[in-house]
């Protein structure tokens, strides 16, 4: 049953050192505010799952929260590389991290299998791909009817998943609209789920019957954080802050600049800062 909490409480109660955690969002609805709160609370030894680790994982890795990253595309979308993640992989700064690399198809299927309560995902994938040789978590199953050899990967089962969504109603049901990504699967695959929302409304009456809604009993905690996806965007609320993604390329290029930026823009502020950041977007 969904609890309405401050983001501080929700993160404190649901994210523990050593947890396997997914902060999901596919370009759209990336839970930046929740990731910043995790950084402020100084969680350690996290295993981070995400199809597209971008700025938030670059920041968490750069601040030393991560022990391991499971991913399929590590880039600053539309801009370039993730410089903090590279620094950790190439030079072990601020600490060495283990990486488990998959394709998007494998990651999406692994979330789907987790949501479906299966131990593994079965799909047609990795044919001729190099990841097969470097990722021991990629195995095969054979179709008992055709003999076709299919790829299998372990289902994702995060201890906790964080997402950002448009709306919650007073009962705690959550609405996700637009590019919905893998968020529904990431929530249903997880033991606990924390959702930051732009808005809390009385009810979802008169909504179309087939929208992407998470019933309140699938969500652990809801925090009201307007602008919580910035510099990502929230369909129907504010646009993507493309300039911030370009800036990140410079900020993340230098360790000291990065450290100072995190002090000023993450450690020294709180979730309420996000509402201000999306003004004019």
């Amino acid at each position: 049953m969904a609890k309405f909490q401050s983001l501080q409480q929700a993160v404190a109660e649901n994210l523990r050192d050593g947890d396997t955690v997914a902060f999901e969002g596919f370009t759209h609805l990336i839970p930046h505010a929740a990731a910043h709160e995790a950084i402020r609370q100084g969680r350690k030894d996290l295993t981070l799952i995400r199809m597209t680790p971008d700025i938030i994982y670059d920041q968490m890795i750069g601040m030393g929260l991560a022990r391991k990253v499971i991913f399929s595309y590590a880039g600053n979308p539309g801009v370039g590389l993730l410089r903090r993640m590279r620094d950790a992989i190439e030079n072990g700064w601020p600490r060495a991290i283990e990486t488990v690399e998959h394709s998007h198809a494998a990651m999406a299927n692994a979330y789907e299998a987790g949501a479906a309560g299966l131990p593994c995902a079965v799909f047609r994938g990795y044919l001729g791909a190099g990841l097969r040789e470097v990722n021991p978590a990629i195995k095969n199953v054979t179709c008992p009817f055709t003999g076709e050899v299919l790829a299998a990967v372990p289902a994702h089962r995060p201890d906790v998943t964080f997402i950002h969504a448009q709306k919650a109603n007073r009962r705690g049901d959550v609405l996700i609209e637009g590019i919905v990504g893998v968020q529904k699967e990431a929530v249903l695959a997880a033991k606990r789920a924390v959702v930051t929302v732009e808005e809390i409304v009385d009810d979802f009456n008169d909504m179309h019957p087939n929208l992407c809604i998470l019933p309140h009993w699938t969500v652990t905690a809801i925090a009201h954080v307007p602008g919580g996806a910035h510099p990502s965007y929230t369909h129907g609320y504010y646009d993507r802050d493309n300039a911030a993604y370009l800036e990140w390329d410079k900020i993340s290029a230098d360790r000291d600049l990065f450290t100072q930026w995190m002090k000023d823009n993450v450690l020294a502020v709180g979730p309420e800062a996000f509402a201000v950041r999306v003004q004019g977007l």
């Binding site: 370009t27 399929s72 590389l81 394709s103 998007h104 799909f123 993507r240």
Partner: protein, 259 residues
């Protein structure tokens, strides 16, 4: 003929390869520009799909990321990412997968994962994203990139996505039913795989380009078709469409900035 840059020629030559009936899985960058120029010129009904789940999208400006809001706002429908990869890509519904490449070899194998050793990379690149399955699930693959000896190499450091492997029938030997790379468009030339060896072969050079230029900017010994055509230069309409699109894009993305 109007003045144009090699990159413009590349994008327009790629756009020409697409038809109205294609269902195209679009990568960001050059592929996205080419697909949208095609849609805005000779292929108005082409179906463009981005892996964020947007099906049949028609953006007014080029997206900066595969999940830009406009892709969803202009799409026929937007589905979840697991559905995108299960029903639409793996389901065999995509006619053309359009990929870029950091490293490419003569058989259309692509590396966007690492430069150097995977365990101790010289440069850790973003990785494959959807490419490993795009390369094997789409009916055919088009590749577009600018020619450099660093990009077009004798041997790639990592097989992010499989093209024709070592050439010949390597795909069939791995049980891959789709055609794989059938077209390479660079800023200098148009390449197609040899029917037998599957090695990319120059079939057309862009206006004013010499064989020497093509060879100097390619890391492997270039094979030229017996008869190499000259790529028709961009038309006024093609060029205007591309430039207007890029101007709109510049304006849109340069624009707003958060507080």
């Amino acid at each position: 003929m109007p003045a144009f840059t090699p990159t413009e020629m590349m994008t327009i030559a790629a756009a020409r390869a697409l038809s109205n009936d294609d269902v195209c899985f679009v990568g960001i960058g050059a592929p996205s520009a080419a697909c949208n120029v095609a849609r805005l010129t000779h292929a108005p009904d082409i179906t463009l799909i981005y892996e964020s789940g947007t099906i049949g999208t028609a953006p007014d400006v080029l997206p900066l990321s595969i999940g830009d809001g406009e892709l969803c706002e202009t799409a026929v429908t937007t589905v979840s990412v697991p559905e995108m990869f299960r029903y639409w890509l793996q389901g065999g519904r995509i006619s053309i997968g359009f990929l870029g490449a950091a490293q490419l070899d003569r058989f259309g194998n692509i590396n966007t994962t690492v430069i150097g050793d995977y365990r101790k990379p010289k440069v850790r690149l973003p990785g494959g994203g959807g490419a490993p399955e795009i390369a094997t699930s789409c009916k055919e693959i088009f590749i577009t990139m600018k020619q450099t000896t660093r990009g077009m190499v004798e041997k790639i450091d990592f097989y992010t996505s499989f093209g024709h492997g070592e050439g010949g029938d390597h795909r069939q030997r791995l049980g891959i039913a789709t055609k794989g790379p059938t077209l390479l468009i660079t800023d200098l030339a148009v390449w197609r795989p040899d029917r037998e060896t599957k090695e990319f072969t120059v079939v057309s050079m862009h206006p004013g380009v010499t064989r020497e230029q093509v060879q100097e900017t390619c890391g492997w010994k270039v094979r030229f078709a017996d008869k190499v055509e000259e790529t028709p230069p961009p038309t006024e309409l093609e060029l205007k469409t591309l430039r207007d699109l890029q101007a709109r894009t510049e304006k849109a993305h340069g624009g707003k900035k958060g507080a």
